[in-house]
Structures are given as structure tokens and as C-alpha cells.
């Protein structure tokens, strides 16, 4: 099957600053992809490139085998919920459904109306008067009802309260499962993605630090705890991401294709959040780019 997103040497420069550098990435279809990184890491830039809102400075990007925003067919295949979930403040919920119906040949009106009913949105209400959560739901409805193959969401829940976040993610996951959508969703909070994402991309300092299926990532990253010693004393198969030392004990967070078999070391798993934080931390310490795991 065609990759959802296939980027080769992708980069985007604003003036002198590179918002995204040398991004090479292949996301297989059928995943809920979490794109995580601190604010300003380049998440929105990557998403804007994938939706054709930006054109790359270097490299290429293909989405579902086509150039982003290249013609109505390509646009129809990708649903996009932009940052701050924009809607037309002066148009009613009903008008938004008509907007979707008029501008998308594949529009599923039944689906849209059912969702609006379930969300208990008043069709006559102006979108400008909706709460942040309701507006996000309306934007999501528009993106889903055009029946895309891929749904891209840029920090959709950043401005929502915890309850609205939970509801939004739940509805998103139901829709993704029901319509067999691939989903790419960015957030600066791992916790938002942890419950839903099965594929993770960590973007720090305009570079992709690591990308891969969550299970594989968790299986290849470990916490090693043992007697105090240098990082260089570990076998070459163990790539140290972070380390901390006390007088008697050293703790390393490592990536390794094989698990360390040494009675001196106790080997533990780590949470997705620990893993992401480790990459964010190590990216700050060094500028070396780690190749992604595929």
C-alpha cells in the first residue's frame, strides 16, 4: 500500500531560520500517528507541508502517493483540522454542513448530520458562539464527513479543557476505526497522544529525532540501572540517550536492538512519556540526529 506520508530530505526555511531540516520519513497506512515535540519544533511546518499549505524549500513530500493539495482529487483524500480549529464565526452550524456539501463531491451528509445530532449542537447556532470544544468537534465533523483517506490534525485539543479533550479523542478514534482512516495528529503533550497513537514521530529542534511504531519503540528502549560507571563501558549495541549518576549507581536510558544480558544491570521498561522526554533532552544536549527506526 502507498505510504500515508513519504518525505525525502524535506526542509522548510523562513528567512534564515530552518523550521524543518532534512526530514526523511515514511509513514505506513492504517496508523494513528502522534507527532510530538515542544512548541516551535516544526510540527505545524511538517503538517502544513503535508497539506500543501506550504511548499518545501528542499526535498519532496508525497501524501497518499500524490503531491499535497495538487488538484481536487488529492484535496478530497486528505481531511485537515488546522490549529485552533478554524470555522467561520458568522456562519451557523447548518451553514458549515452546507459548506462541506457544496465543496466536497464525496460529502457524507448523513454522517455529518448524525454527528452534529450526537454532539447536541444546535444547527442554527453561529460557529462564533460555540465553545472551543464544540468548535473543534464541528471542524472535525467537516474533516471526517468529506470521507478522506487520511485525517491530519494540528494540535486539535491544545486549547480544550480535559473533559472536552477526552471527548474529542474518543470521537476521533471511533471515526478512525469506523472509516478505516489513517490519522496524523500533532501535540506538544505526550499524554494527549499516549492513549490514541500507535505510531510516534518525535520532532525536536526542526529535526525528526525518532519515528516508529509505539510497540517497537517501547521494545527497543530500556532503562539500565547498575553500579556507577562510564557510558562508554556499555556494549556498542546500546545507544545511550540520557544518563544520570550518583556515587554508587548509574542510570542509562538506552536504545538497543538487543536487550542487554548482564547480571550487573537491571533492565526496565519505560513509558512513552519517558521515551519522548529522553529524546527531547538528548536533542538539547547534542545536535546529532538519530536515524529513525522503521
Amino acid at each position: 500500500m502507498t505510504a500515508v506520508i513519504d518525505a525525502r530530505g524535506l526542509g522548510k526555511q523562513y528567512g534564515r531560520r530552518w523550521a524543518l531540516t532534512d526530514c526523511t520519513l515514511t509513514i505506513p497506512p492504517g496508523h494513528v500517528v502522534g507527532l510530538v515535540g515542544p512548541n516551535g519544533a516544526g510540527k505545524t511546518t511538517l503538517i502544513s507541508l503535508a497539506t500543501g499549505m506550504l511548499t518545501p524549500t528542499t526535498g519532496t513530500i508525497e501524501v497518499l502517493g500524490g503531491r499535497p493539495a495538487d488538484g481536487p482529487d488529492q484535496l478530497a483524500k486528505v481531511g485537515y483540522v488546522a490549529q485552533d480549529t478554524p470555522t467561520y464565526a458568522g456562519l451557523s452550524v447548518e451553514d458549515h454542513l452546507r459548506f462541506g456539501a457544496h465543496l466536497n463531491p464525496g460529502w457524507d451528509d448523513q454522517l455529518a448530520r448524525n454527528r452534529i445530532r450526537r454532539l447536541e449542537l444546535d444547527p442554527k447556532q453561529k460557529a462564533g458562539k460555540l465553545s472551543g470544544g464544540q468548535r473543534a468537534q464541528l471542524a472535525l465533523t467537516l474533516a471526517i464527513a468529506k470521507r478522506p483517506e487520511l485525517l491530519i490534525l494540528d494540535e486539535p485539543i491544545a486549547s480544550l479543557d480535559p473533559l472536552a479533550r477526552r471527548e474529542f479523542l474518543q470521537i476521533l478514534m471511533e471515526a478512525a476505526a469506523e472509516h478505516e482512516l489513517s490519522v496524523v495528529m500533532s501535540s506538544h503533550l505526550v499524554a494527549d497522544l499516549e492513549r490514541v497513537a500507535d505510531y510516534l514521530i518525535v520532532l525536536v529542534g526542526s529535526r525528526v529525532q525518532i519515528a516508529g511504531e509505539v510497540d517497537a519503540l517501547l521494545a527497543t528502549h530500556h532503562v539500565l540501572t547498575g553500579p556507577s560507571r562510564e557510558a562508554s563501558s556499555l556494549p556498542a549495541s546500546q545507544h545511550v540517550l540520557t544518563q544520570s549518576h550518583t556515587d554508587r549507581q548509574s542510570t542509562f536510558l538506552v536504545r538497543g536492538s538487543e536487550q542487554l544480558q548482564d547480571p550487573l544491570w537491571s533492565v526496565g521498561g519505560l513509558s512513552l512519556e519517558d521515551l519522548v522526554l529522553a529524546y527531547m533532552g538528548s536533542a538539547k544536549q547534542s545536535t546529532t540526529v538519530l536515524e529513525g527506526i522503521r
Binding site: 493539495a69 484535496l75 478554524p86 470555522t87 456562519l91 459548506f99 457544496h102 465543496l103 464525496g106
Partner: protein
């Protein structure tokens, strides 16, 4: 896409239609009344005395309520295109950029090229329809005055706002339609380039006003070759001026008068019989307190007043030419907007 263009434009369109409706309510009865005054003044049946009848009629209009409407109609047809550029054109794309809805609009199954083209077409047609209707109303309303002025009441006297006059010309016929299309395309293009609504509105207004000044002063006089007319100068009634910088004898100039009904006088001056412009250092005869020797000398020169002008018959050719220029500019700006929207980031 047409649905969306109309839905987003509905309020502005209704405001424009309402303004046009109110104006029709004012202009239709007063215009009918004005036409009846024109007939009552005998201008529809006159033969030899048309000139003076027309002068009486124009003066009676000038100092009545209809005079205010006459000038208000001109102001309206300058303001309408400016407002269309500011309130219909400038926000068309910039407001969507500011509110972030561009990212919503550009991610439906419609390319952004089609999005901008349809929007431009819908609002452009509305702008043409509105200013077309306004210009038709005002041109019809003012036609008795315009016709009377062409019958020769004005000449180059003080109130000679005939329809060839630079001030009136752009508020008659098809030119308002062209300037509205231009203002709209200008507003949209500025909005696309500046990306912010308020600055875009301000810049649109300034640029449009500049063009409204430049077209009559720089462009229009050269669109068609002007005509020339000369008339003998009656020294007894001509204006005579002697200007001296204090050191030597002054320079004498003569200002005669010439009447070309309904024309737009581009330039006018006294010429010698051989066609050379007249200017001379004032002879001693002209420096005394008695003007008679000076007048005798001037009369012996057989000076003539020469006017270079656009005749009344050039009105429609000039109208169509100027409409064409505005439409070409509008098309160019429209193309610029489409090109920018297709390549620019959201």
C-alpha cells in the same frame, strides 16, 4: 463554490442593494421632476434661443435642491467604487487569512485557484451590477442638465461642469463600472499581498484615490487626439495682465474667451495670426495710466484665442476607452491575486 462565495458575500451584497434601493427612491421622482422642468423651460422645442434657455435652466437647477443632488450624484459615483474596493475587495482574502479560515477553505475538495477565481467572479459581477445600476440612475437623472450644458450655456464660465469635465466624466456612463471593477481587483490584490484587512483597506483607498487623480490629469487628455478652435479676441473685453519682476519692463499677456459648448478645454491661450503663442515685453504705451494707446497697439496685432479641447462628441469614445483601460487593469490585478493565491502559503 458559487454557494460559498454568495453565502460569505450576502451581507455586503444586501447592504449594497439597499443603498441602491434608497437612492432609486430619491432619484426616480426627483429625476422625473427635473425632466419635466427641462421640458417646461422650453428646451425640448427650442430652435434659435436654446443657448440662453439652457443657461436659465442650468442656473435655476444650480440654486435649487436639484443642484445638491447633481453634485451628490457625482460624489456617489466616486465613493461607490472606493467603497467596493475597501469593503468588498480588501477583506475578500485578507479576512480569511486573519481568521485562519483560509486553512479550512483551502482543504475542501476545491483547488485554491478555483476558490479565488469564483470568488472574484461573483463579487466582481455584483460590483459591476451595482455601479452599473447607480451610474445608469445618476446619468439618467442628470441628463437634462448634461444636455442643457452641451447646448451652450456654460462655455468656460464658472459653472461649466458639463459631462466632459474631468470631475463629471468619471461619474457618468460606463466609466464607474470600470473603476469599480478596478477598485475591487485592487482591493483583493492588496489584501492578498498585505494579508491584513485594515492596512489593506487603507492602502486600497489611497491607491484608488491616486488613480482617480492620475487618470483625468495624466491619462485621459492623451487618449484621443484633441481638437483646436480659435476665435478673434475682442481687446475691449479681454483680460490684460502685465507682470513685472521689478527690474525691467513686464511681460504682457492677453486672455480672451472662446465658447466650445460641451467640450473639455485642455488648454487655452492667445496666439498671433501666424499661430505662435503671444507673449511680449510690455511697450511703453502699456505702462501709462491711459490704456487707450495700449489697446490700440494690441488690437493691431490681431490676436486670436486658441483652445485645445476634447469636443462633446468624444464623450462616448472616451468612455469606452477608459472603461477598457480600467478593465485591463482589473484583469491584470485579478490575475496577480490568482497567481499569488496559488503559490502563497496559507
Amino acid at each position: 463554490m458559487i454557494w460559498l462565495s454568495w453565502r460569505q458575500f450576502r451581507v455586503q451584497a444586501i447592504v449594497g442593494a439597499a443603498i441602491a434601493g434608497v437612492l432609486a427612491i430619491v432619484l426616480v421622482p426627483t429625476g422625473a421632476h427635473l425632466a419635466s422642468r427641462y421640458a417646461a423651460a422650453g428646451l425640448t422645442t427650442c430652435h434659435a434661443t436654446c443657448g440662453s434657455l439652457a443657461a436659465n435652466f442650468v442656473n435655476s437647477v444650480k440654486f435649487s435642491g436639484d443642484g445638491i443632488i447633481f453634485y451628490a450624484g457625482i460624489a456617489l459615483l466616486y465613493l461607490a467604487p472606493a467603497f467596493i474596493g475597501m469593503f468588498w475587495g480588501a477583506p475578500l482574502v485578507s479576512r480569511e487569512i486573519e481568521s485562519g479560515t483560509l486553512r479550512l477553505a483551502w482543504n475542501q475538495s476545491v483547488t485554491r485557484g478555483r476558490w479565488i477565481v469564483v470568488k472574484l467572479a461573483v463579487v466582481g459581477l455584483a460590483a459591476a451590477a451595482l455601479t452599473g445600476a447607480l451610474s445608469l440612475l445618476v446619468t439618467w437623472w442628470a441628463s437634462p442638465v448634461d444636455t442643457a450644458l452641451n447646448l451652450g450655456s456654460g462655455g468656460n464660465s464658472l459653472f461649466s461642469f458639463n459631462r466632459m469635465d474631468p470631475l463629471v466624466f468619471a461619474a457618468r456612463g460606463v466609466v464607474p463600472l470600470g473603476s469599480a471593477a478596478f477598485a475591487l481587483a485592487l482591493g483583493v490584490a492588496i489584501g492578498v499581498l498585505v494579508r491584513r484587512t485594515l492596512p489593506a483597506m487603507a492602502i486600497t483607498l489611497v491607491l484608488f484615490a491616486a488613480v482617480q487623480v492620475l487618470v483625468p490629469s495624466v491619462v485621459r487628455p492623451h487618449l484621443l487626439p484633441p481638437a483646436t478652435a480659435t476665435a478673434p479676441i475682442n481687446i475691449g473685453t479681454a483680460g490684460i495682465d502685465i507682470q513685472s519682476d521689478g527690474s525691467g519692463p513686464g511681460v504682457i499677456t492677453v486672455m480672451g474667451s472662446i465658447s466650445v459648448p460641451g467640450a473639455w478645454i485642455l488648454s487655452e491661450h492667445a496666439v498671433r495670426p501666424d499661430g505662435q503663442p503671444f507673449s511680449a515685453t510690455a511697450p511703453r504705451a502699456c505702462l501709462g495710466s491711459n490704456f487707450q494707446p495700449c489697446n490700440t497697439w494690441l488690437a493691431s496685432l490681431h490676436l486670436r484665442e486658441r483652445a485645445i479641447y476634447q469636443p462633446a462628441s468624444q464623450f462616448w469614445p472616451l468612455q469606452w476607452l477608459e472603461l477598457g483601460i480600467y478593465l485591463i487593469l482589473a484583469a491584470g490585478l485579478g490575475w496577480l491575486s490568482v497567481w499569488q493565491v496559488r503559490r502563497r502559503r496559507a
